[in-house]
Structures are given as structure tokens and as C-alpha cells.
């Protein structure tokens, strides 16, 4: 029973996130690309998305994140799973730069595309298939000896 409540809660959180994404315009490549096109058809709307999301999370995390070890636990888990990797290296900067190039070409980011799958627009499926291919190829490359270094995932 508690397993079912957990899944229903997570479904509701996903729905909330998805409605936020769809309402904000983050899942609309035309709007995303126009945000970055300052020299052309600029649409500054996305500043409000980033601002609203960041300020809400910044305030919310202050109440939710543990202040000390073993202070509190999440509702459905015994501990918080926070990223431990602190290294600012070529992998972080290079990976983020490659992500940016891809985002600039396609206009979709992962958080925008996943909720947009529900619209049934074929372009979302094309993008998501290529995204998954990229993730799998990256994982394959990361397991090759020359890439094997300690690394962690931030998100």
C-alpha cells in the first residue's frame, strides 16, 4: 500500500513538473530558440521560467534539505541522494558545451522534451530517440579504458 502511495505521489510530482514545462514554453522549440536569438526575433519569456523555477527551488530547498547529517529523512526514502561530485573539470565544461550546441540546434532540452512526448508531435519523438542514442553512446565511451576516471552525476 505504501508502495502505491509512493508511486501516486511521484506521478503527481511528474504531472506538476510537466504542466510547469508546458505552460512555461520550455517545451516549445520556437520559443526556446527565440529566447537565445537576441539579435533576431527575441522573446525574453524564458528569463521568467528560469527565474521563477530557481527562486522557488532556492526557497523550498532551504526548508527541505537536511541541515546536518541524519537531521531528517525524505518521506519515501531513508536518506537524501545529493550529488557528491565537486570537480570542475574538462568533462563538466566540455559536456555542458556540447549539450548547449545540441540545444541550440534542436531547441529541445531533456526536461522540455519528456513532457512534450504527450503532445504526440513527431519531432519530439525524433529528438528523444536521438537523445537516448547519445546517452547510450556516451555511456559506452565512458566505460572505455581511456575515459575511465572517477566521476559523478550531478543530475
Amino acid at each position: 500500500m505504501s508502495g502505491l502511495i509512493r508511486l501516486i505521489t511521484l506521478y503527481a510530482i511528474g504531472l506538476l513538473f510537466g504542466i510547469g514545462i508546458m505552460l512555461s514554453g520550455m517545451a516549445n522549440p520556437a520559443k526556446v530558440l527565440n529566447f537565445f536569438d537576441v539579435a533576431g526575433t527575441w522573446d525574453p519569456s524564458l528569463i521568467f521560467v528560469m527565474g521563477g523555477a530557481l527562486i522557488t527551488t532556492l526557497i523550498g530547498y532551504r526548508f527541505v534539505l537536511p541541515r546536518s547529517e541524519s537531521a531528517a529523512t525524505p518521506f519515501f526514502d531513508t536518506r537524501f541522494h545529493l550529488p557528491t561530485n565537486r570537480s570542475i573539470d574538462a568533462k563538466l565544461v566540455g559536456g555542458s558545451a556540447v549539450f548547449g550546441v545540441g540545444w541550440g540546434l534542436a531547441g529541445f532540452c531533456p526536461g522540455g522534451a519528456l513532457p512534450a512526448l504527450g503532445t504526440g508531435v513527431p519531432a519530439v519523438y525524433i529528438f528523444t530517440a536521438a537523445l537516448i542514442a547519445g546517452l547510450l553512446v556516451a555511456r559506452f565511451l565512458a566505460h572505455r579504458p581511456f575515459m575511465r576516471q572517477p566521476s559523478g552525476r550531478a543530475a
Binding site: 516549445n28 559536456g95 534542436a106 504527450g118 525524433i126
Partner: protein, 148 residues
């Protein structure tokens, strides 16, 4: 690589409201499961789960995300807009680079840009600044150098 430009209206209120909902969902995921609301991490773990338990919550979260447009369609009578001003080739190349990049960069707009920055993580500040610049430069090149 064909592109066209679609003019989109400035929607500060809808975008702000959407942003606040994204933030609320991120806070609720941290409170309920102790996890970062990063689309990249959630998707990777869904595709390559570490256990059945681990897969189930990711599947529930993703199902919630993907049904959002349908729920909005029922509530408002119209599907939210997804306008794609780029070619299929750009979707494919772009999508592949996004997958590659977020794997090595350890996150995307939601993970680094919202959750990581909200945790005041220096890593996420560097990542976010990097991808925002790279995206801006790419859009400029595509629209005003190649397509100009």
C-alpha cells in the same frame, strides 16, 4: 540544414507560473524522495535502472510528465504549443549532442540550471553558464551566419 523563424509572443505571466510549478515539483521531489529533479538523471536511471524499485519511481515520474499535455488539453480544450522551426537533421544531430553532452556534463537545464544552482553548487553554476553561452552562440551561428 533548413530553418525557419517563427515569431513567438512574450508571455511573462505564463512563463513565470510555469517556472514556479517546475520549482515546486523540484522541492516536492526532494522532500518526498530526496532526489534532484534532473530530467537527464531521471531518464538515464529509467533506461539503465539499478533495481526494480529504482525503475518504478522513475517510470511514475515520467508518466506524470508525459500525461501533462493531455491533462492540460482536457482542462483547457487546447494542446499546449510545440512549434518546431528546425529540420529533422537538426533534431537528430541536436538530440544526439544533447545526450552526449548531458552524460559527460552530469546534467541539463533542470538538474544543473534549477536544482544545482538552487543548492548553490559551483559545478552547476559553471555548467549552466557554459551551456547557456554555447546555446546562444549556436543559435546565432545557425540563424545569422549560416542562415543569414
Amino acid at each position: 540544414m533548413g530553418t525557419m523563424t517563427i515569431i513567438t509572443p512574450f508571455t511573462p505571466w505564463a512563463s513565470l507560473a510555469g517556472g514556479i510549478l517546475i520549482g515546486l515539483a523540484s522541492v516536492l521531489l526532494m522532500r518526498s524522495l530526496g532526489r534532484i529533479m534532473g530530467a537527464t538523471g531521471i531518464l538515464s536511471g529509467f533506461l539503465m535502472p539499478s533495481s526494480r524499485e529504482d525503475w518504478a519511481w522513475r517510470a511514475a515520474l515520467l508518466a506524470g510528465m508525459a500525461t501533462a499535455p493531455v491533462v492540460m488539453m482536457i482542462a483547457t480544450g487546447s494542446m499546449p504549443a510545440v512549434q518546431v522551426p528546425v529540420s529533422t537533421a537538426m533534431l537528430l544531430v541536436g538530440g544526439f549532442l544533447v545526450g552526449l553532452g548531458v552524460f559527460f556534463g552530469g546534467g541539463c537545464t533542470s538538474g544543473h540550471g534549477v536544482c544545482g544552482m538552487a543548492r548553490l553548487s559551483p559545478r552547476s553554476f559553471v555548467a549552466t553558464l557554459t551551456f547557456m553561452i554555447a546555446t546562444g552562440v549556436t543559435v546565432f551561428v545557425v540563424r545569422h551566419v549560416v542562415g543569414g
